[in-house]
């Protein structure tokens, strides 16, 4: 696990500038929010997620997360059909703070246009640079 300015950025994932990560698992994609996102929002108390069977579209909101002091849209990192929703996160939203990359995953999606959309995301190396730049701009 690589830490950039105190934020975890695991290898092997793709990242969006809307603070989401995706992990390619065969022909499916798992997605969630980054460590940087959860640390910025702090204690997350509520997650509103869509239902399986629905569609998500890259760059568009599909749900919201709410912390004691903040509320934010969840912006889809890729487009596709929702196959699974992490129900555990809805009952235990603190999983997003405790383990954003593993237990705190949000959706499993069957991607509609993965290869083309990956071009809009950051790979590990780019994500490390981006996190550094974010931390420096503060």
């Amino acid at each position: 696990m690589v830490k950039v300015e105190g934020y975890e950025v695991p290898e092997g994932l793709y990242y969006s500038k809307d603070f989401e990560w995706i992990k390619i698992e065969g022909d499916k994609v798992r997605m969630g929010v980054t460590d940087y996102a959860q640390k910025s929002l702090r204690e997350i108390v509520y997650a509103e997620l869509p239902s399986a069977g629905g569609e998500v579209k890259q760059g568009e909101p599909y749900g919201t997360v709410e912390s004691v002091k903040a509320v934010s849209d969840l912006i889809a990192a890729i487009s596709g059909t929702i196959e699974e929703v992490n129900g555990e996160v809805q009952s235990k939203p603190e999983l997003l703070n405790e383990d954003p990359y593993v237990k705190g995953w949000l959706l499993v999606v069957k991607p509609a246009n993965l290869q083309a959309e990956l071009a809009n995301l950051m790979d590990f190396a780019k994500a490390v640079e981006w996190h550094k730049a974010q931390a420096q701009s503060k």
């Binding site: 903040a70 934010s72 849209d73 931390a135 503060k138």
Partner: protein, 448 residues
């Protein structure tokens, strides 16, 4: 059309207002405008960066860029608001590049804070008088220390003055505090409680001169010494900690009325006398819970509570600010000091007759090796027998006692009720009778 909320100022109260507005209205266009380079950082943490407990000023930034982005808060930093037009409902701002922009608002929150106050002392135009209000101020002091400053004069023995003094002693400087009033922490503690803190600071090497006014800054272009009470005091570093004054210029120019404290007048929704314009934090006043008089407490805790109320109202919600008790704590070397409600002196100024009780006790069972002294002073209104204030000074466990008494005051608890309070005990953690309860018993005896 989406509601447009503009917040002028992006620190404690401003960011809180913007987030509260976002919580209420998910589609509003929310803009934060700040003159500073950094938004959303903790001013209260500045002395602890100087002291070295916190590695860097950057670490004080509570809200990283992602926070603003995720909440869709449009942050304009290094941008100066030059005018507010409450008739047209516009704000005019000039950015770093010199570009002027006029923005329309539906609701406006003024969170312009306060500026370090400098009395009209002879020679005050000379170079080298620092203060500690912003990260930039902190960087200047740190630079001076790194450049080899060996001694510092700090003018003012309030929280910022003393916390900065402690930090500089920890950095190896010789520190002299000059205070005009006869005691340290005059806003916070009564003289009897302040004395305990002063003795601790003096044991740690801080030189404290009370009852002396700074009369002049000496030196050619740069300050080299001050005259205080007819005595010349030389030093390498001069820090003014005379306090802060509400920054109300924008509001005054816009015709927004000030109140009796010369801070911006507000109602219980933190709205000014001008509809849809709110004011919060160090530039605004609000009523004291006990005296019902307007006060400008200029505490971070009050700032964020006011910000939350104003932000919600600005976004169409209904929320009230319930008033100021001005609970505050500090840690200076190994001693902690706290206050809630009125001191005995503040009660006297407000013509409130009180009975006080002060008990010296320990933070653990007397026989327990880690037990440290702690003193609790209760201030009780004579007729109602309600607790209206408390001060706690001790080696540990001050904050939660202050919080407990703060709740008691807010619930209008009488001293008789506090004397029966069911408090917790174990030898390493507390005495069988909490000192708060003993102080209450002492007051009851005086009331007999």
């Amino acid at each position: 059309m989406a509601r447009r909320v503009i917040v002028v100022g992006a620190n404690a109260s401003g960011v809180e207002a913007a987030s509260a507005a976002r919580k209420k209205d998910r589609t509003a266009e929310i803009t934060l405008i700040t003159l500073e380079k950094n938004a959303g950082y903790s001013r209260c943490g500045l002395p602890f960066v100087l002291g070295g407990q916190i590695p860097d000023f950057k670490d004080l930034i509570v809200y990283p860029p992602a926070f603003f982005q995720m909440l869709k808060l449009n942050l304009k930093n290094e941008t100066k608001v030059t005018a507010i037009n409450t008739k047209e409902k516009t704000v005019t701002a000039v950015d770093k590049a010199g570009t002027t922009e006029t923005l329309q608002y539906d609701s406006l929150v003024i969170a312009t804070g306060a500026d370090a106050f400098m009395p009209s002392i002879k020679g005050r135009e000379k170079q080298g008088i620092l203060s500690l209000r912003t990260i930039e101020d902190g960087e200047k002091i740190r630079q001076a220390v790194q450049n080899g400053a060996k001694s510092a004069v700090i003018m003012g023995a309030g929280l910022i003055g003393l916390e900065t003094g402690v930090a500089l002693i920890e950095r190896g400087l010789k520190v002299i505090i000059v205070e005009m009033l006869p005691q340290i922490l005059p806003q916070m503690l009564d003289a009897d409680m302040a004395k305990i803190v002063q003795e601790h600071l003096q044991e740690k090497g801080m030189v404290i001169v009370t009852g002396k006014t700074v009369e002049e800054f000496l030196g050619d272009d740069n300050v080299r010494a001050i005259m205080a009470g007819g005595e010349k005091i030389e030093a390498d570093l001069f820090i003014s900690a005379f306090g802060v004054r509400a920054n109300t210029k924008l509001a005054v120019d816009a015709g927004i009325p000030l109140g009796e404290t010369r801070a911006i007048k507000t109602n219980a929704r933190m709205e000014t006398d001008v509809k849809d314009v709110y004011a919060v934090g160090d530039c605004a006043e609000a009523p004291n819970v006990i005296t019902h008089k307007q006060v400008c407490s200029q505490l971070g805790t009050i700032a964020v509570r006011e910000g939350k109320v104003a932000g919600a109202n600005a976004a169409g919600d209904y929320s009230l600010f319930t008033g100021v008790l001005a609970s505050a704590v500090t840690k200076l070397f190994e001693i902690e000091a706290g206050v809630t409600g009125l001191t005995e002196a503040a009660a006297a100024r407000n013509r409130i007759e009180v009975v006080t009780g002060a008990i010296g006790s320990k933070t653990a069972a007397d026989y327990y090796p880690t037990a440290k002294p702690v003193k609790v002073k209760l201030v009780v209104e004579k007729e109602s027998q309600r607790i209206i204030g408390a001060q706690v000074v001790g080696g540990a466990e001050v904050t939660q006692r202050i919080n407990a008494i703060s709740f008691a005051i807010q619930k209008q608890m009488t001293v008789r009720e506090l004397a029966k309070a069911d408090t917790a005990y174990a030898p390493p953690l507390n005495e069988t009778w909490d000192p708060m309860v003993l102080a209450a018993e002492m007051v009851l005896m005086k009331l007999r």
